[in-house]
């Protein structure tokens, strides 16, 4: 490792040095200097790969107070907090005063002089961050393999930390063990306390799963793993939005003193006279100050916003690396053909459906006109062979998951619909946003498996869930439930509905699958299709899909004119043949078609091609009859 890794292993040293230097000179811009220093360092070639990532390194292998990175989604935003930005400490023996810096730290040094005039109060914001929900395994692996940080479990930590480790060798234990141990630790603390938090525990809202773990890490999707993190942001926190994805570089803080519950037992004596402390319910304390061994704190120094989480592309916006991608652009047409062939195989030989699936996967909400999201392209793939059980839709999902960076399959069983929490809800008792399955990062593929839906009754929660799904599809928004009011958060989720008949949910485009082949053993057929793709081939596809999505698009004057003429002509012949809505979807298809070919402007060729496939698609759905005239 290069010798410069001091700033990785001991970033606080760098901070303190700069802080100290600023005290002697009148120059006060040390804070800007710190961030600039780290930014510069990370800019250096490959430097960011030296930083260990919380995503793939178990917490107990990381050195406290070292620089780490974390690829995450902002799940909740806590209230801003005031902290001691600078303070004096007094040495009890020598009575010497030393000015200390409190930035990037959770706990002060010993002997704080609270009456010092040098005390500076500053403000910072806390975000609750979780790993990007639904991130595909290949993305995780790929990021982990590019990371060059060598982590050695620090000897001082091994004995105690190993036990409470996050990830165990045994995969099955992963999600239960750390919590169970964390709980044992807490329970001991509670036993000494007034038992308040204990009671809270058993009275936990019944809405949550009955076997609610002691500390719900609040991941949007069930079955997610990985660390959650409290990220402390020191500047410019207004520019962050809920559900933003980013890679944060920050100083890891795992001081055991941060655990709120261990602290309670000690202060129990003062609790009685100190109602201020017990005002915040035990629940709230647990959520806002969970044990640092479970939810580490990260003091943010540098952030890299992620436009996508595809490890094969540089994270920055495309313009920066346009040159390197120019070659890939040329290949797009050929990759597209290969991908189309692959999809055709997956979709049992249906070329048209494969084409639409491809368009769907590169769709992206690129703008909103008052309430209308532009660029969304929800696909309803009906006619999925149901005789083979869930096998087909499941396998199809697996295939897609291999291609897109993040995906989630929501099996629309009646039970799931009635019981899952899709829409995030504010829990005022714990003062946090309880996540729901629709709290997803931009461009996540949501795969709704409607073939799983059986007859039965939806309860009110189920109706709300269906409505929420409908809202996502039609308006690309999720109304988060804040109990007293709802708050609208824009979403950008690619929804794909697999169903037998036409879906009960609205969609932008409905394709009825017409299988050309009927393999006797569906599972084997798809399995072989899946394994036939080499990893380099898959990488090409992955790259292609992300690239196509981010291309720019425009329509020239002449083409606009041609499209207008075309529309007028079509209406002249038969006014019923095309409505304003049809033109909308036609324009949408044409746009995606262009992007899929690597073109950034609409051509008349692409236009007629879009018209052609739309006609083909419509001729398929018409015999189906049941035209529901009520979709937006």
């Amino acid at each position: 490792m290069p010798s410069t890794n001091d700033w990785i292993n001991n970033p606080l040293g760098v901070v303190e040095e700069m802080f100290g230097a600023s005290q002697n000179s009148s120059d006060s811009g040390w804070e800007a200097k710190v961030t600039e220093f780290f930014r510069q360092r990370l800019m250096e070639k490959d430097a960011h790969t030296w930083v260990p990532s919380l995503n793939d390194v178990p917490l107990h292998y990381l050195k406290p107070n070292s620089l780490v990175k974390f690829r995450c989604l902002i799940q909740d935003m806590f209230d801003p907090e005031f902290y001691m930005g600078a303070y004096d400490t007094v040495d009890p023996s020598t009575k010497a005063k030393v000015l200390r810096c409190g930035k990037y730290k959770d706990v002060t040094e010993c002997g704080v002089d609270l009456d010092s005039a040098n005390m500076v109060t500053s403000e910072r914001q806390t975000f609750y961050c979780v790993p990007i929900p639904g991130e595909s395994p290949w993305v995780k692996e790929s990021y982990a393999s590019t990371c060059q940080a060598r982590v050695v479990p620090s000897t001082s930590y091994v004995p105690s930390r190993q036990k409470r480790s996050y990830e165990d060798d045994d995969e099955d234990d992963m999600d239960t063990q750390p919590q169970a141990q964390g709980h044992a630790h807490n329970a001991a603390a509670e036993a000494q306390g007034n038992g308040d938090s204990k009671r809270q525990e058993t009275e936990a809202p019944s809405g949550q799963k009955a076997s609610s773990p002691p500390l719900d890490l609040n991941f949007p999707l069930p079955g997610e793993k990985g660390p959650a993190c409290l990220v402390k942001v020191y500047a410019d926190w207004d520019s962050f939005k809920l559900n933003d994805t980013m890679e944060v570089y920050g100083i890891l803080s795992v001081s055991p003193a941060l655990s709120a519950l261990s602290d309670q037992s000690d202060t129990s004596s003062s609790l009685i006279l100190d109602p201020a402390e017990c005002m915040e319910t035990a629940e709230e304390l647990r959520v806002h100050s969970p044990p640092a061994s479970l939810v580490p704190r990260l003091h943010l120094i540098h952030t890299q916003r992620l436009a996508h989480n595809n490890p094969l592309l540089p994270p920055a916006a495309l313009e920066d690396s346009a040159a390197s991608l120019a070659s890939t652009l040329g290949e797009m047409v050929s990759v597209r053909a290969e991908l189309l062939a692959y999809f055709t195989q997956l979709l049992l030989g249906d070329v048209l459906a494969a084409e639409y699936l491809l368009l769907h996967l590169i769709s992206n909400v690129y703008a909103r006109r008052d309430v209308i999201p532009l660029g969304k392209f929800t696909l309803n793939l009906s006619g999925c062979p149901a005789t083979a059980g869930p096998a087909y839709t499941e396998q199809l999902y697996c295939a897609l998951q291999q291609l897109v960076p993040s995906a989630y399959r929501l099996s629309m069983t009646l039970q799931n619909m009635n019981q899952l929490r899709l829409v995030p809800r504010k829990d005022y008792v714990a003062n946090r946003l309880l996540s729901g399955a629709l709290q997803l990062a931009a461009n996540t593929s949501l795969y709704l498996d409607e073939t799983q839906l059986e007859q039965g009754q939806l309860d009110p929660a189920g109706v709300r869930n269906i409505t929420a799904l409908g809202n996502v599809i039609s308006w690309q928004k999720v109304d988060y439930d804040f109990n007293y009011h709802q708050m609208e958060f824009p979403s950008n989720i690619n929804v794909l509905i697999a169903s037998e008949g036409r879906s009960l949910l609205p969609s932008d485009c409905h394709v009825h699958l017409q299988p050309q082949v009927t393999p006797p053993n569906m599972e084997a057929y798809l399995g072989s299709a899946l394994t036939a793709q080499s990893s380099s081939q898959l990488n090409k596809f992955r790259l292609y899909l992300t690239m196509a999505r981010t291309l720019d698009y425009s329509i020239s004057e002449e083409v606009t004119k041609a499209v207008e003429d075309d529309f007028v002509d079509m209406r002249k012949d038969d006014p019923q043949s095309i409505s304003a809505d049809d033109l909308h979807s036609l324009l949408g298809v044409a746009r995606l078609l262009c992007l899929s070919l690597g073109q950034s402007a609409l051509s008349t060729d692409a236009w007629s091609r879009a018209k052609h496939i739309e006609t083909l698609r419509k001729s398929r759905s018409e015999p189906q009859g049941c035209l529901n005239g009520n979709e937006p």
Binding site: P80, Y83, D106, C110, G111, T121, L273, V371, E564, L587
Partner: protein, 806 residues
């Protein structure tokens, strides 16, 4: 002062407040002082400042939590300073501030005696003489009512004496006790005989320091701030000990110990008899004050998009406890506090984070006045001078009406009249109160129904409106039940109390309720709309709760035709199959149909294509427009209350008479008073668009035009081509009714001619009638005619046989 309170562990501060009268001045051992302060409800037997007990102000809290140890010897506030000031003269200020107690007191007394606000609009001042000193009248009120609280509007202080205001905001915990003193001196000088429960407390409100929870920062610590928010949680009442009372078990000697930093130091030795550990705490002679924790959250309007709301903890003390409930929107004036948190009391390193809260001094509910039908003043105050100027300039433009209507949902092409109708709906008419004469409130809200082919962006229009108005609700007919619209009773899972949960209609009170897929609604659900749409109230009688809720909401509904495609050969009623009783409650019914015309198509195509390649900047501009539109509507709704002018009244009468005349020529009624009311509402709304206080003829003209346009679309009788209002009011066009009568008459005549055969087959009779008639008779018409005769008791129908009545 920007450094926070910093004593470790000082959570509540020392509650006994030396800033009010010191214990030495009021005999604290007198029986009157026992128990919690709130239990002392009776007035004092004596009167005058000295005789009225001072009440502790825990809201001002930790006055002497300053970092100076030798502070005890220094005058801290109020009395202490006042006492020390005499020898030292005028130069003395309270430690750490620039407040001189005597000057401050004098200034405040001058303010009370002289402040006049002739233009006061606050409703609590409504019965006061605005040309007399405002606060002196309030003091008089206190002497009569006996509620010893004086609310002071900081805006008044600031306009009277900016320096005093600055001091108040910066050093509230020193200045407010000074104000208390000043006001009490003044009060007991003027009303020496009045008896109060305790001394008057000054409660400032409306400090302009901060408006938004998000903008609170470390500089606001220990300052007077006002923020708005919504209550999300309140704790139970917490009795907080202010002073402990100890009694010696041996000699009954008593000792009082003030709570210091949340702790009570128990005296180990009795000072009287020197017995050790003989003192016991006597609870009911200790002093307690009430405290409550309230959690407030940013109001949704104040929030930047894409972020979650912040919350703040607020402590309410004494009589402010239980003043607010979860869900209330309130303005809070109080002192912002930050206290450090200790990791462990036995360790000296502290968590470097502070806990913040607000000690509340004044609560003001912002949504209280909605009960009286007026939008609250807080919403009005949102507009800055510059903004109002912009809006006024915009309103003065001659084409403001067209501008606004085109700014409405720009992504939806054309449908100008519909947009205009919706625009007028957004403004609404003037609310009139006729409850004195027994007619109740007149509906001021305009209801609109959009019907038309699927895929004509009705839903988008609804979504747009829903996003535009602050109190909008969006529901779909398919997904909503009657209870979802109105209100339902549920058991609160925590308290086990039955609570009334309001539905979409009540929630959109003073807003717009958008109902999509109106036709898909079940009949029972729709029936609840009848009351809402005309009386603007909602009556509930269930689970022992009988009440009437306000639901002054405009309804914007969209309905699809039954046959999925609009049938131009049928009337509106037949196309959408909604009861006419409901339809007649809509002021405007628009059809959104495909115009099918080349020029239109071309423009539409251009419009849509441009959507797909416009740059981000152009989109930004659109958004700006939406913000202006929002403000414009909000401003007009709260400030402009146009009244009918003489000419406008005449014009309306003429318009109505004209409408009646049109029909009378053909023997039918073409307008009902309901239509006249609609016209008035529309004219008023149009006047609001112009920011005019008077409804003038041009407003009536536009109202007439729009109303006519809507009627032309929805009430044209497809058989005759005439506009026929009875389609909407009775569900059947006049010609159809006439036809029905004719057929009935013909049938009757036919039956009379063959009285010999009293029993007939249905089909045979139908064929006979058809053969006899010159025009085609449908089976439906025949059945209707039979039914009519049946109602006349002329015949009876059983199955397929018809029997003449004898």
């Amino acid at each position: 002062m920007s450094s926070p309170m910093s004593t470790p562990g000082g959570k509540r501060g020392r509650p006994s407040n030396p800033s009010t009268l010191l214990p030495s001045e009021v005999d604290m051992s007198s029986p009157l002082m026992y128990g919690t302060p709130s239990s002392r409800v009776d007035g004092t037997p004596r009167s005058g400042a000295r005789g009225t007990p001072a009440r502790q102000r825990p809201d001002l809290g930790s006055v002497r939590k300053s970092k100076q140890v030798d502070l005890q010897s220094e005058p801290s506030a109020a009395d202490g300073a006042a006492a020390a000031e005499q020898p030292a003269g005028q130069r003395l200020v309270i430690w750490g501030t620039d407040v001189n107690v005597a000057t401050c007191k004098e200034k405040f007394q001058r303010f009370l005696q002289r402040f006049i606000d002739p233009s006061s609009k606050e409703d609590e001042n409504s019965c006061l003489d605005l040309n007399e000193p405002l606060y002196m009248q309030k003091l008089e009120e206190i002497s009569i009512v006996g509620d010893p609280v004086l609310n002071i509007n900081c805006g008044h202080v600031s306009s009277f004496d900016a320096e005093l205001y600055r001091q108040l905001v910066c050093y509230p915990q020193e200045v407010i006790p000074t104000f208390d003193m000043a006001v009490n001196e003044l009060f007991f000088e003027r009303f020496p005989d009045s008896i109060l429960e305790h001394q008057i407390q000054v409660r400032p409100y409306n400090a302009l320091k901060t408006r938004n929870m998000r903008s609170l920062n470390p500089e606001d610590i220990d300052q007077l701030i006002t923020i708005s928010g919504m209550v999300i949680r309140t704790s139970q009442l917490i009795p907080e000990m202010q002073e402990a009372f100890f009694q010696c078990a041996v000699c009954a000697f008593s000792a009082r110990v003030e709570v210091d930093r949340g702790r009570i130091a128990e005296p180990a030795v009795c000072r009287n008899c020197n017995t050790t550990h003989s003192l016991a705490l006597i609870h009911n002679r200790s002093m307690f004050s009430d405290k409550q924790m309230v959690k407030i959250q940013e109001s949704p309007e104040d929030m930047p998009a894409g972020q979650t709301p912040h919350t703040t903890v607020v402590y309410a003390h004494n009589d402010l406890v239980d003043k607010v409930q979860p869900g209330d929107r309130i303005n809070i004036t109080g002192i912002y506090r930050a206290v450090p948190m200790r990791v462990n009391p036995r360790q000296s390193n502290v968590k470097s984070v502070y806990k913040t809260h607000i000690d509340v001094i004044h609560f003001r509910k912002t949504d209280e006045k909605r009960l009286h039908g007026q939008d609250d003043e807080n919403e009005q105050r949102l507009f800055t001078e510059a903004r109002v100027q912009t809006l006024r300039e915009l309103a003065a433009k001659p084409d403001v009406y067209d501008r606004l209507s085109s700014a409405l949902a720009p992504s939806i092409y054309e449908h100008e009249d519909i947009k205009k109708g919706i625009l007028l709906q957004l403004f609404g008419g003037t609310r009139k109160d006729f409850s004195q004469t027994g007619r109740g409130n007149f509906r001021a809200e305009v209801n609109i129904l959009l019907c038309g082919d699927p895929g004509t962006s009705k839903s988008q229009l609804l979504q747009y409106v829903f996003n535009l108005v602050p109190r909008g609700q969006y529901t779909s007919g398919k997904g909503s039940s009657a209870v979802g619209l109105t209100a339902y009773i549920m058991k609160d899972p925590e308290t086990r109390q039955t609570v009334l949960q309001t539905g979409a209609l009540v929630l959109s009170d003073n807003g717009i309720c958008c109902i999509d897929e109106f036709d898909k609604m079940s009949d029972s659900t729709r029936s609840v709309l009848h009351e809402v749409m005309e009386q603007q109230t909602l009556s509930i009688a269930k689970a022992g709760i009988i009440c009437q809720l306000n639901a002054r909401t405009s309804i914007l509904a969209a309905a699809n035709p039954v046959e999925s495609q609009w049938n131009p050969k049928k009337t509106t009623i037949e196309n959408i199959q909604l009861p006419h009783t409901l339809l007649s409650r809509f002021d405007l019914i628009f059809l959104m149909l495909d115009p099918q015309d080349e020029a239109y198509d071309r423009k539409l195509a251009h419009h849509l294509v441009s959507l797909y390649y416009q740059s981000e900047e152009q989109l930004e501009e659109e958004n700006l427009d939406m913000a202006v539109l929002k403000d414009f509507i909000a401003y007009a709704r709260s400030y402009i209350q146009p009244k009918l002018s003489e000419e406008a009244g005449q014009a309306l009468i003429e318009a109505y008479v004209e409408m009646r005349k049109v029909g009378s020529g053909r023997g039918m009624v073409s307008a009902y008073p309901r239509q006249l009311e609609s016209l008035i509402r529309l004219a008023e709304a149009h006047a609001k668009v112009r920011f005019s206080d008077k409804v003038e003829t041009i407003d009536v003209e536009e109202a007439k035009r729009l109303h006519r346009e809507a009627l032309k679309q929805s009430a044209t009788d497809p058989r005759t081509g005439f506009v026929d209002i009875s389609i909407l009011t009775t569900g059947m066009s006049a010609t159809a009714r006439k036809r029905k009568e004719e057929i009935t008459a013909a049938l009757k005549k036919m039956l009379q001619s063959r009285t010999k055969t009293p029993v007939m087959k249905f089909q045979q009779l139908f064929d006979d009638l058809r053969g006899q008639s010159e025009t085609a008779i449908t089976k439906d018409q025949f059945e209707e005619a039979l039914k009519a005769l049946c109602d006349e008791d002329y015949l009876t129908i059983s199955g397929k046989t018809i029997r003449l009545a004898t």
